[in-house]
């Protein structure tokens, strides 16, 4: 689908709610170098959301949606959890899957899109919580990676089941006591980034969402690599401020504290050799394009 097809009928334009008019007028569909810096300058692909005030997940959503390289041709697959409350307000095609089934749905979807639109780039991005990715859906997650399915999996890791009151999840840190897990976690946080690497993911990153420029970079890399080579995985720390006893203003600091080199969300990145080559190729092309633009500007001046 190109941006030209996202057009409101002229005779009914005036009755369309303003959020749809804004999407057509000033959203960044079709913009090649879209990124987090568009936030504030253009219509975001997320309308108001129903997450808690100050929830880092809402920041993550905004950065990811601003960074998808091809939103008009992207389908996102969600699962049960806090993220599923946001998807109705997202202006990117999306599917809500059965809890844990997201990577299986995405596998079929990606294959079907390749058959239905052979000449067109269609991206599939899974976005689910840690319960869906690591506990209930671990089978589907791993099997998709083993099969080298070409899509990106993003896990919003808040280290517990947040919207059901705080039950223990596989990604919860050892010893943590949650409201619905009073004994405390008895075993270590599942090392999914390492498992992802060993399962065939070509690009794996673990980080927090405290830095929008970093999120933009890793989302773009993940989508581009999954488009050309194979599965990619991003594990983003989006703490549930309610469940860890923080105030709404403290989410950002919590992420900053947790990403220090000795902490559990220290930046972690694995890139396969073919993915490294692709990223180098893309960087060279980008450099060429920038040089050409600079030259053109100089000539114009």
């Amino acid at each position: 689908m190109s941006k030209e097809r996202i057009k409101i009928s002229e005779d009914l334009y005036d009755i369309m709610p303003s959020d749809y008019q804004d999407l057509v007028k000033s959203a960044t569909y079709g913009k090649e170098d879209r990124g987090w810096k568009d936030i504030g300058n253009s219509k975001e692909l997320i309308e108001q959301h129903s997450l808690c005030a100050g929830c880092p997940e809402s920041m993550a959503f905004r950065y990811i949606l601003a960074s998808l390289p091809n939103p008009e041709d992207t389908v996102m697959v969600g699962s049960t959890g806090c993220t599923s409350l946001v998807f109705p307000m997202v202006a990117v095609h999306n599917i809500h899957s059965l809890f844990g089934n997201q990577n299986a749905i995405a596998s079929g979807l990606k294959r079907a899109l390749s058959v239905r639109f052979p000449g067109r780039t269609k991206d599939v991005v899974v976005l689910a919580g840690d319960g869906a990715t690591v506990d209930i859906g671990l089978d589907m997650t791993l099997q998709a990676w083993f099969r080298q399915e070409k899509f990106t999996t993003i896990c919003f890791d808040n280290e517990l089941y947040a919207n059901t009151g705080g039950q223990e999840s596989g990604l919860m840190q050892k010893g943590f006591v949650a409201k619905m897990a009073p004994v405390g976690k008895l075993f270590d946080k599942v090392r999914l980034p390492e498992i992802a690497r060993e399962s065939g993911c070509h690009y794996v990153v673990q980080c927090t969402v405290s830095k929008p420029s970093l999120i933009e970079k890793v989302v773009r890399n993940a989508v581009m690599i999954s488009r050309e080579i194979g599965p990619t995985y991003l594990q983003l720390y989006t703490p549930c401020i309610l469940e860890i006893g923080k105030n709404s203003m403290e989410g950002l600091q919590e992420m900053r504290d947790s990403e220090k080199p000795t902490e559990r969300f220290a930046y972690k990145e694995f890139i396969s050799e073919p993915a490294k080559e692709l990223l180098a190729e893309l960087a060279a092309k980008d450099k060429e394009k920038k040089a050409a633009a600079k030259q053109l500007a100089a000539q114009g001046a």
């Binding site: 002229e10 005779d11 009914l12």
Partner: protein, 191 residues
């Protein structure tokens, strides 16, 4: 058993199959009787995704303008879009849109007592029509581009630009001949 959908050239009124001409007359009457006759255009006509959609949008605007010209003082025709089908959280604004997952909110808020769906995908129209029928006393009309809707009180099938224009003609034809329900205590939509 149950309601049969009309064959081409036919429509149904309260489940009874009638010639299409009869349905135009009844739909026009219902619009002219209503205090708040409303058109609900859906995504198939709100978005200019092909030439036909744009032409239907023009025809809908014509029907709305005709309604405005033909009603009497105290009647307030409305044109409210159904831009998409996703449930809206925390809430929709019922003044400016209708959503198939809770269409009753828009009906109640605007006191709509007669409405017509057009350009809404059939499965979403069915959902909306059921909720409206179950939760309000609004008269429902479907201008369906496929085989019609058993859940509407009156349903056309094979909607086209010509059919929308013809309905507008009928509204004009019956102008001044129908008594609006302005004073009836039971006239408005209710829950």
């Amino acid at each position: 058993m149950g309601i049969y959908l009309p064959n081409p050239g036919e429509a149904h009124i309260n489940g009874v199959i009638v010639p299409e001409e009869k349905a135009y007359e009844e739909a026009a009457k219902q619009f002219l009787m209503a205090k708040v006759p409303t058109l609900f255009p859906g995504p198939l006509v709100l978005w200019d995704w092909n030439e036909k959609a744009a032409k239907k949008a023009t025809a809908i605007r014509h029907l709305y303008n005709t309604l405005k010209e033909c009603v009497q003082p105290g009647q307030t025709p409305m044109l409210i879009p159904m831009p998409d089908y996703r449930p809206k959280y925390p809430k929709i604004n019922p003044e400016v849109e209708i959503n198939p997952n809770h269409p009753n909110l828009t009906i109640w808020h605007n006191k709509i007592d007669c409405c017509m769906f057009i350009g809404v995908h059939c499965h979403q129209a069915n959902l909306s029509l059921k909720i409206i029928r179950g939760g309000t006393s609004c008269y429902t009309i479907a201008m369906c581009a496929q085989a019609g809707h058993e859940d509407a009180m009156l349903s056309f099938r094979d909607a086209s630009v010509e059919k929308i224009m013809k309905l507008a003609e009928w509204v004009r034809k019956l102008k001044g001949t129908v008594q609006p329900r302005l004073t009836s205590a039971k006239s408005g939509a209710s829950n």
